[in-house]
Structures are given as structure tokens and as C-alpha cells.
């Protein structure tokens, strides 16, 4: 643990935190701004893409994931896999439905 804290201090000074914070603000503005354009089906994709970047930098820097060991990464990433599993199979089921009443 103590060696951990050491590297953490090394990498995340106040400047990094401020930079991440600014990035979050900028990305929020971007999200609002591009809401004006219509990408059709891709609206959700674009919005989610930006949101994912925001979530990632929060996890990496604010939550210190970047400086954690492999095990912590597994515990951080495995739920993402489960999320894809849940969404993926649920959509697969929905898309393969055959209308019973024609």
C-alpha cells in the first residue's frame, strides 16, 4: 500500500486534477453543442462516445485506476464485459424475434 501512495503522488499532482476537471467541462460543452446536429441513428453513439471518454478519465485519474495493479483493473473491467453481455444478449433476443401475428 505505502509504495502505491508514493507513485500516486508522483503522477497526480494538483495540475492533473485541474486538467481532468477542465476536460470534463469542455466535453460537457461539446456534448451540448453537438446535440444541435442530427446524426440520425448515430446521435446516441456520438453522445455515448463522449460520455465514455468522460467516465474513463474520471476512473483513470480521479479514481486512480491508472496507478492500480492488475487485479484492480480486472475488477474494473469485468463489469464492463458483463454490461456488454447484458445489453448484447438482450438486443440479440429482441432483434431475432419473429412476429407471430402477421
Amino acid at each position: 500500500m505505502s509504495t502505491h501512495n508514493h507513485t500516486e503522488e508522483h503522477h497526480t499532482g494538483l495540475r492533473v486534477y485541474v486538467a481532468v476537471c477542465l476536460a470534463l467541462f469542455v466535453l460537457t460543452v461539446v456534448t451540448v453543442y453537438i446535440a444541435k446536429f442530427d446524426f440520425g441513428d448515430f446521435n446516441i453513439v456520438v453522445a455515448m462516445f463522449i460520455a465514455s471518454i468522460k467516465a474513463s478519465i474520471v476512473a483513470l485519474y480521479f479514481m486512480h485506476l491508472k496507478f492500480e495493479d492488475k487485479l484492480t483493473w480486472i475488477y474494473a473491467l469485468y463489469p464492463l464485459f458483463l454490461l456488454f453481455l447484458l445489453i448484447g444478449f438482450t438486443l440479440m433476443e429482441t432483434f431475432t424475434r419473429v412476429p407471430v401475428i402477421k
Binding site: L71, Y75, L86, F89, T90, E93, T94, T96, V98
Partner: protein, 534 residues
Amino acid sequence: MANGAVTQTQHIPYLAQKGLKSWILTTDHKRIGILYLITISFFFMIAGLTALGMRYELMTPELDFFRTATEYNVAFTIHGSLMVFFFIVPGIAASFGNFLIPLMIGARDVAFPRINLLSFWIYLVGTAILLFALAQPADTGWTFYTPYSIQTGTKVIMITLGVFVLGFSSILTGMNFIVTIHKLRAPGMTWSRLPLFIWASYATAILQLLATPVVGITLLLLIAERAFDIGFFDPAKGGDPILFQNFFWFYSHPAVYIMVIPAFGIISEIIPVFARKPIFGYKAIAYSSFAIAIISFFVWLHHMFVSGISETAAAIFSFLTMLVAIPTAVKVFNWTATLYKGSIDFHSSMLYALSFIVLFTVGGLTGVYLGALAVDVHLHDTYFIVAHMHYVMIGGTVMGFFGALHFWYQKWFGKVFNELVAKAAWFLIFVGFNVTFFPQFFMGYQGMPRRYATYPEEYISYHALSTYGSWILGLGILIMTVNLLIPLWKKGRPESSNPYGSLSLEWQVPSPPPHENFDEIPTVTDWTYAYGKK
């Protein structure tokens, strides 16, 4: 001896301190374990009595015990939700997990003792909400399926809120156990020497940590739809009722393994001690818990085969469901192989462990029937399901739980129960259980649907038999409970701190163990299961 290095000078047992404050503010994992044990037993009793009421109703085809069908529906909702969410899911994991994990790995406590207490308090808040909800209970069944749970006139929000709050307790406990097992193992307690209960608890903790949030969100969405009319599940508002089932079972299938994997762990501890043999296939048993924890996320649609899901999805999930039976069978075969040529002592806890193997096998195999798509179309929502789930949950988890109560009783409470009475109670429980639930396979197969208060004349003999069985089962549990309670008020201590000659660390400390378990953290030099090597 594996862990003979344990030295003990201070002998003040953890139970010495008295007074309410010493309990509700305790951070001692053993005491927190007891707190869970008391609360889950309380809910087990209420839910069990409700079940006796339901069985009494079903003794005859007409509605005679409950006043309305809705009352019967309320009864099975209370029974199911209490048993599942308040007893069996937190059951072994939170009570025995708390008591055993630090002792078994040679630690003084869990990694975060205060969070551990917080988990218990959250659990209590959940139960308080639930008891409040019971004043006006819902009638949806424990699965809270939409659209009915949105439309029914009974109160759904309170009970789901209770379950939602409870989820946080599970998540925190799971997190705590994972960190404990990683960080606090005694020197020499390598992964390949760990007791199998620890492996099982770890696998369970993964499921608690990663699956529980899904049911939490699902119930929150349900509450949002009921309270604020937001259309998640109602097609008229752009939702999809099947979505609820997807979310619900994405949690609840892994949850059935939250219920049973800790019992697997218990069986793996009891069998080698009373067969006086090293456990057979240690690695296979250890890894199969993980295999189950992973595969169990891939099978949830088997609960929805006839919900109107696509045939493609149904076929894929029927196949995937078969996979989960493999690691489960691996365990059963290894336990059986451990028994082979063992010198078996039929201690009451061993009787429960042996019953587990038999009954869980019946439950698991009938699960495979249900996983077979074509068969399930016929059997879905019949008493066959009721029989299946009770064979795995009572025949499996509860047998493991009772076995654990008898096995670690001396260690946990520092008292001795009457072994003869314990055996008699076991006999009644074993017989009563089978008389209650075996006929349900037949009546389900013949078409008797679950969740009905009345039924056609032709099922009467099955139902009546099942009701008589429930009395035997109830009597057995009553005798067992009394037998385990009486010694608590009596004076006297066990003669030996390791009466069954176990090699596991928890048996090397006094009964009951001192506060903080070990004077000096022991150094482990051998495998936990090296029976008969010397």
C-alpha cells in the same frame, strides 16, 4: 499437523463482553456473524410459517384457509421474498462467511471491520423497510414481474425498496471478503492451501459484488415506473416487459449461485473431516466455483423460454445452460470420490452433508431437464419448478446451512448440543423434505401450475401428501432449533477445542475463539486437507 503452530496465551472468549452496546457496535467478525445468524433465522422462521400456511391451504382443492385468492398470493410473495432476499442470499455468505473467513485464513478480522458492521446495519435498514412493507404486502411473487407489478393494487414499492437497500449490504460484504482473502492470509496460507470454503466464499463474493447492482437498478426502474409513470417496461409507453425479466434474471440466476456456492464450500469442509481423507480433486473443486461464477452470467434466459423471447435466443440459452451443469457435477463427483474408502463418521453435520449430495444432485439434474428447451415448455411454471428450486435451495443450501450449524456449533458458541436429538431431527427433516417436495415433481409433470390457491380434484393426493410432509419437515426443524438453543443457556464448555480432529485453522484456537482470534498470526506449513498422511 498442518497448523499446529497456533499459540494461545490469552483466553478471553469473544463472547465475554455483555450488553447491548457490545453487540450493536461490535466490529468483531464473529459477533457480526451472530447478528446475521439471528436475523436470517428470524426471517427463515416467518417465511417457513407462511409456507406451512400455504401448504395447509393446499391440502384441499377449495379455498378454505385463506379468505381470498389474493391473500394466498400475498402469502407466497412473503414466503418467496423473505426466503430469497432475507434468508438464503445473505444466509451462509454473511453469517458463516463472517465467522469463518478470518479464522480460516489466519487473520484477526476482515479487512474492513467497520464496513462490515455497516453492511449489517444496511441489512437491518432493509429488514426494517420490509417489516414496514409487510403491513400492506404485495401479491406479485418474489420475481416482481412486470406488467403485473406495475398494475396491481397492492403495495409493491415498499417491498422492492427493502430489497434494493439490502443489495448494498451484499455488495459491501462481497467487497470486504474479496479484499480480506487477498490481503489478510497468514504467512504460508497460499492459494493452493486455502480451505475450499474460502474459495467458495471468494466466488460468491464476486457474484455479490458484480451481479447485485443489476437487480438494484432494476427494482429502482420498477419503482420509477410505478411512482412516476416512466415507461421502462410498459409497451404503451415505449417500454418492454421482457426487459424487466432480462434484468431480473441477469441478477437472479447468478443469485441462485450466491445462495448455493457457500454451501458447496461447507460440504467440502465437512466431508474430508468425517471421511478422514484428503479431499479428492482439490483444484477441480476450487476452480469449479469460479467456473460457476463466470458461466452463471451466461444462462439467464432459461427462465424466460416461454415469455415470448425469440426462438434463436431460446435455443442458444438452452445450450449455454447445459454448460453450468458441468462444474456443478465436477464437485459432486469429487465429494463422492472423497467418501470412497473413507472411514466415515456419521456425525449429525455429516448426515446433512451427505443429504446435500443426494438432494442437490436431484435438484441439479432436474435443472438440466428444465434447461432443455422443449421440456421446459411443458414444465415451466408448474410444480416441477417448485420442486426443482426447493431441491436445490433446501436440499442444497439449507442442508449445507444446517450441516454448518452442527459442525461449527462448538467453535462458534463454545457449547455442546445433544447429538442423538440432532440425528433424530435430521431424520425428520430429511424424510419430511422428501415427502413434501418429491410429489411436486409428479404433479408438476402432470400439469399442476404453481402459484394457485385452488386446483382440480385429481391432484388432491399429491397435494395432501406434500402437506403432511411439510408438517414432518416443520417438526424436524423445530426440534433441531430447540436442540441448538437449549445449550446456549446452560453452563459448560466443550471438552476439546478440536473434537473432530480437523486440520483447518479455525479448530486450532479455543472454543469459542478469543477476540481477534490469534495471539500471534500463525504460519501455515501444510495443506488444509492432509488427513491420514501421518
